[in-house]
Symmetry: D2
Subunit: 321 residues, 4 copies
């Protein structure tokens, strides 16, 4: 990686129109990356790749001992990219339960899937053609009582090697423009520029710079336009055997390049590959820290709430540098 913008690979042009994928092509992709039937503990999907050996290797990556949190603040205000604001109310200001000591308490609530809260998608979050990961019928596994397959409570915590693909740094731009599709070639370029190679059991975090753009330009409807992965990048990630995919968006480029599918990367990652997703991270501090050390790998911790039957969880992922 170079800090000289002149050395940066040229940012590719926007993909409007170009890169369109038919439903038939998508279905072929889906079959190609599918890992159904591979693990006894199917609920955990690709997290089965994270063996104790992988955890030990991740721990061995710790150098400075600096912690870098990645969770965005709980957002209670609606906006163009937050149509389901989180709730936070004080339930005791020291005046409800008797002192001493005085206790201050609060109530929190959130419909966490969406565009604003940092969260993990468990395997029950997504079904394609009626099937969850492992080919389980969504209708038989999920009802108003929650998910009986692919719940976040089946995942448990994750400690593994995290890899930051800091694309604006790679391309020498402040951010990828909304709608910019990230292709396999971009991932390979990022690996080379940043000096890191994605491997088995890794958590891959894609930085598009959307949060920096939001800070400078204001919020926009990210459901309509956001930078993210094109489906043609998924075979590479499948081949490498990643355990987790995340980013400062929700991984999918929007508008979707696939005919009739609003979130094709979700379908491939979660339903075909068994790879949970980390959405809406704040990767700004990690980008700065990585730039200063020149290292784009680190120990990554993800500890979802233990909610039986939930399709995911708000989380506060942490990088240990």
């Amino acid at each position: 990686m170079s800090s000289n913008p002149d050395d940066a690979p040229a940012p590719p042009p926007a993909t409007a129109g170009e890169g369109a994928v038919s439903r038939q092509e998508f279905d072929a992709l889906f079959s190609a990356v599918r890992t159904w039937g591979r693990w006894a503990d199917a609920d955990r999907g690709a997290w089965n790749r994270v063996t104790p050996e992988q955890v030990r290797r991740a721990a061995a990556l710790v150098r400075s001992g600096t912690l870098v949190p990645m969770a965005r603040p709980w957002d209670t205000a609606p906006g163009p990219d937050n149509n389901k604001p989180a709730l936070h109310y004080m339930s005791d200001l020291g005046d409800v339960e008797p002192p001493e000591p005085a206790t201050h308490k609060d109530f929190i609530a959130v419909d966490y899937h969406g565009k604003a809260v940092s969260h993990l998608d468990a395997l029950s979050h997504i079904a394609y053609r009626g099937q969850l990961y492992e080919g389980r019928a969504a209708q038989e596994c999920i009802d108003a009582g929650g998910a009986r397959f692919g719940a976040v409570s089946a995942l448990g915590p994750l400690v593994t090697r995290g890899v930051l693909l800091d694309l604006p740094t790679v391309f020498g731009v402040p951010w990828l423009e909304p709608g910019r599709a990230v292709h396999a070639a971009d991932l390979v370029a990022a690996e080379q520029a940043l000096g890191v190679t994605i491997g088995e059991g890794d958590a891959v975090l894609l930085r598009s710079g959307s949060l920096r753009r939001r800070q400078e330009r204001g919020a926009w409807n990210t459901g309509a336009a956001s930078a993210g992965l094109h489906v043609d990048a998924m075979p590479l990630l499948a081949e490498r055997g990643i355990a987790l995919l995340g980013g400062d968006g929700d991984s999918d480029v929007r508008p979707s390049p696939v005919d009739g599918l609003h979130s094709p990367v979700h379908a491939l990652a979660v339903a075909a590959m068994g790879v949970p997703l980390l959405d809406n991270l704040d990767l700004e501090a990690l980008s700065a820290a990585s730039a200063s050390t020149g290292r784009y790998e680190f120990l990554l911790l993800v500890a979802p709430l233990n909610i039986p039957g939930a399709t995911g969880s708000p989380v506060s992922p942490v990088a240990v540098l």
Copy 2:
């Protein structure tokens, strides 16, 4: 530590009546363990003790790479020890947002302080004589909009050495009976029996076995009777410079031995020492794992949700063995 119950120190008798502490004695204790004015970043209290060096040492503790989660399941059913049940509702069963892919979503809510959900108490949770940690006036720092001092969002994540004081194992009993006070001498006995010494920046986790008792005997009102620390144990923990205190209860023995105070250990730890608390952990798996390896120290990760102004957070702490 010995696996032979005959070698175990005799379990001390119950403390009913015995060990009573006057308010005056408590106030002297409070002054003695107080660390106000010590850190520029006062919101983080004793977490300031966890330096990058401490993080590196914790990472070096990893041996097998086994992860042991400690969060109890999100409990939506009321009971004698759960008077504020958590909420979990499905907000989309693939029939609200249009496919493809189908998306399953859920809404979660909880007033998390209490007896049932595993959670972290931030420094704004407790005030004694009107003062939060650092002597900050509670009324000036906390209102219906949240806490402006001592919020969980100021804490961020924690990675440090965790130490399990597995008292039932030490004493050769299945659990400590509700009401059993844990004194300084018990902590010292545990250190010796388990071969571990509490030090600067450590997270101390106390296992009373209450969860095992709950499984075998059924739930009871833990607010009325629970095993936990007597205030006389706090000077030892203050002297050792701990960063975090937690357990399978809420750290306080109940009934309280201190005249007029319902939660004296909360007051000492949070308001005097700046030590956040971890309440209601499930330490059963960690107990079994530690017994099998004979090691009672490990890398501990705590990653609270990033909720501005919140007095704590539900958490899923993880031990990496």
Copy 3:
């Protein structure tokens, strides 16, 4: 009606065992009382009986102008008869939004069906053998987005004649014991004793005295044992053409006398007859007021919240005497 207990009809014996109804008998009953296909505006079921003429007659019942509310207080504490406590948090204590003036605000939440909150059951609340009222398939009408048939928002408000069947007064007892089944003969006895005849478009409110019992004896699990209607009383109510059925319980006697059905009166009233139910009323004040005037009829108002797709609503019904 007489205030002399000696004149009261003898309270019938408990029905344990006696009165058992087979599933086949129930299905015959269901067919017999069914009113499917009767109204163009099927969502409103038996509320179609409440014509403007019926409203005018109800208004003409007003004598003293006294209002008698019937809603129990919003119950935020769990208990043997409240396993889904309501929530109430202050969201502004004059310290969130800027003054002047200072504004105080609150957040309320409830999963209102259950045993504790006074609420209305709309026609989408109950399906029998997969069918809602009018024979609509539940699976086609209700999903995670709400009910498209039989929602409370389709009902709107109700003003009609209310009739109080004050059974403890009729039988000269402080309350009906939990498990006491109310049969058709009891309804007829009540009409005669109280001097009122149930007619077309009426709202029938059954008082069992359960709230008085709760106040004197403490709360109990009303899901296991409560006084209420035996299914054999429903043909009489069907014949009379009632519009609404309610009470201080949830109308069903428990344990259920019908083999394999937990709430047979719900099935008959809501799914067969299109009669919404009013559950968990406080009828104590209405009982006292009616006793003092000797009149057991009044103008009744029910104004559910206008929640599109909801299966009912918390309500505060009011009698105008």
Copy 4:
């Protein structure tokens, strides 16, 4: 009233700048309309004016028996006039509790004060210069546990004469433009045009036509600009002895004409006069019905939820014509 637009009084010009009121003038107004100390049952404020005699007179107004509901639909989507969207989730789709019968249930939640949900403001909602109605100190009466004075549970239900002041009809316009202040002279003109005179114990409902404007022009930020009462109209309403004030806005014209006060009509009505407010009604159907009969008075029913300590309640007011 005339249906001929040519007969309509000329719509007054907008009030930008004009009509500004100093804080000193406002305080004099506040003192002039104040009714503190008048009623033993101070929590109920001006609802004390609604005697049983007033209820009987209201019942006598019923002519056709037509019910006209006024509650807007529960709005779960954020928007320029809804920054605190209501929540509605299905908690049972017949798949959580066991059949038969199948039960469908839902969870509702809302922070109901604001611009979108039809609701009642109880007397605890507003304090001016630290004082609630009756001069009660807000800080002593309201804490995180709720309001101990002026709670909605102290109000109970209301049945009284309602009077619709349908201003667009009076002025022959489709709606009052946002920012249009309604003055005392406008109220008098409306009385004359509509053939109704506001009297003791009445509920006055002001229609600005904002909902029609919203339907035709789209939503806007009503907190920034809305038609409503100028404070100079309040002495007239005080003199007439009204019990309740409401409308399709929140009664206050915005921007506020009073220096430093965001909601001066709230302060006068609630804190000085003890008059609860009804916000965000849908008066379109009532307008049409009143126009067709030429009668602008009716029986009005308001039945707030019985929530102890709440500062108001979502409601579904109903007119009986």
